[in-house]
């Protein structure tokens, strides 16, 4: 229900101030931006072929600045999938700048857990049409949370540091009582806390060079994840991530080299889960609940070319990996290689042509994974 109410309140809120703006000019500023994508994909899943146009996604963003210190941002996401319109509230938060080094945010925000979800996932920023393994649906990386956060940046003798420290409702453990197949998985989208314990998380970023070409980041998120008053009350989880960014225009190479990588690890305390034995009873089991995922991406954009066509091209390669616990119902080991050529129509719009191969074992169907996917996506910001 909150999923619907929050966006409605946001739109209502904006409506009022927008209406006021017409009467008399004020310092309040308001902007609707957003992005979307549409495309075509052809999938070869262990020899089974299918292809389709997908109507894609549209994500409007509303930015609302009350003063030089106070601002509201929200993003909704609409996706048309399997004949149904799905809506989601990506984020909705207010931020207040306390001083040059500290900004406080409250509401639902993208988590600075690594850099991919917070900075790179919008389709007009992501250089490939898919997200790396470990992110998104069935992922092990938290993307957003409801809570409060303090963040900021400062420089120390020419090197820059940035930090974020937050407390949110935190991840929730699926204890398998409703979905035995998912016993032990963490869910990250919690509007209501399932226990009294709030999570604590943060990220520290470090840019050693004066040209900001390199950033190293360390993130963590610690939380109790079990429902209170259940057997899982004391089950906790520790998540960490390391991220790396290198981006620089290198003249001898005739363009911009962009390298990104992120390693994520999730460790959930051991607990006992139950598997229905098909005879009305159940069998108890446990496993070492540790998952990790990794991606590295290299891209090159020949921006100094004299040809207008070549200048707007971009070449991308990405490797990613996901390993979930041995012995879990959702055990999987997958790796994925993706290649892409993009043509940039503007700074916020690109046609992406991608080819992606995923191999491994486990996953939803169980057994072997052997997927080859070709996609063309048009991503645009408005």
């Amino acid at each position: 229900m909150k999923r619907i109410i929050l966006p409605l309140i946001a739109i209502f809120f904006v409506g009022i101030v927008y209406a006021q703006q017409e009467d008399k000019p004020s310092k309040t500023q308001f902007m609707i931006r957003g992005y979307g994508s549409a495309g075509f994909q052809s999938l070869n899943d262990e020899g089974e072929k299918e292809s389709s146009f997908n109507s894609g996604t549209f994500a409007p963003i509303i930015l609302f600045k009350f003063s030089d210190k106070f601002m509201f941002e929200t993003e909704l996401e609409f996706a048309y999938e399997n004949g149904e319109l799905e809506t989601a509230l990506e984020y909705a938060n207010v931020m207040y700048s306390l001083n040059d080094y500290m900004t406080i945010r409250a509401g639902k925000f993208l988590l600075p857990f690594g850099t991919f979800m917070e900075r790179l996932h919008p389709s007009w920023i992501n250089k490939l049409s898919s997200v790396p393994l470990g992110f998104g649906h069935d992922g092990i990386v938290p993307s957003s949370g409801v809570g409060v956060e303090l963040r900021g940046a400062f420089d120390v003798y020419g090197s820059k540091f940035n930090y974020a420290l937050y407390s949110t409702n935190g991840p929730k453990l699926n204890d398998g009582s409703m979905e035995p197949d998912e016993a032990g998985i963490l869910h990250f989208d919690n509007y209501e806390d399932n226990n009294k314990n709030k999570s604590l998380g943060g990220r520290l970023g470090y840019l050693p060079f004066t040209d900001s070409s390199v950033e190293l980041g360390f993130s963590f998120l610690n939380s109790k994840v079990g429902n209170s008053d259940s057997d899982y009350e004391n089950v906790g989880a520790k998540l960490i991530a390391y991220d790396f960014t290198f981006i620089k225009k290198i003249n001898p190479l005739g363009g911009i080299i962009d390298i990104r990588a992120q390693y994520n690890q999730s460790i959930v305390d051991d607990a006992n889960y139950y598997e229905p034995d098909g005879l009305g009873g159940s069998e108890e089991y446990t496993f070492n609940n540790k998952s990790d995922s990794f991606y590295a991406q290299l891209s090159y954009k020949p921006t100094t070319s004299s040809s207008n066509f070549i200048k707007n091209l971009e070449f991308v390669g990405r490797y990613s990996e996901l390993n979930t616990p041995e012995g879990a119902e959702w055990e999987t080991n997958q790796n994925q290689t993706a290649f892409g050529i993009n043509y940039w129509l503007s700074w916020r719009s690109a046609i992406k042509v991608n080819y992606q191969i995923t191999d491994g074992t486990g996953g939803h169907g169980g057994g072997l994974i052997d997927k080859k996917q070709f996609t063309i996506q048009w991503a645009f910001g408005i």
Binding site: M31, L63, W347
Partner: protein, 99 residues
């Protein structure tokens, strides 16, 4: 897998972590110097605009938005991209002067 195996593994981990830590402290020490601080302070808005805005997405040009919109974007990006106050002031002053 005996206790020695575990101890050995822990020792290797410790060595690796120590090397990484020393390396990082080294980088921090080298990269934090008064000359470099002056270099950063002396950077112009246009220079910072060229280096900073491409870190996550392609760089928009000043002409893409009007001043009112730029000041909204200024706050949005300062918070989202963790720009320092000085960086963001210089960059957006340049952008607003050039559109």
């Amino acid at each position: 897998m005996g206790i020695w195996y575990i101890i050995k593994k822990l020792k290797i981990m410790k060595t690796i972590l120590t090397v990484i830590a020393i390396g990082l402290i080294g980088i921090v020490a080298i990269s934090c110097s008064p000359e470099r601080a002056a270099l950063v302070e002396g950077k112009s808005g246009v220079q910072l605009w060229g280096e900073t805005c491409m870190r996550c997405h392609s760089t928009p040009s000043p002409a893409d938005f009007n001043d009112t919109d730029w000041s909204t974007i200024e706050m949005h990006m300062r918070v989202r991209a963790n720009l320092t106050a000085d960086e963001s002031k210089k960059i957006f002053d340049f952008i607003k002067s050039a559109n």
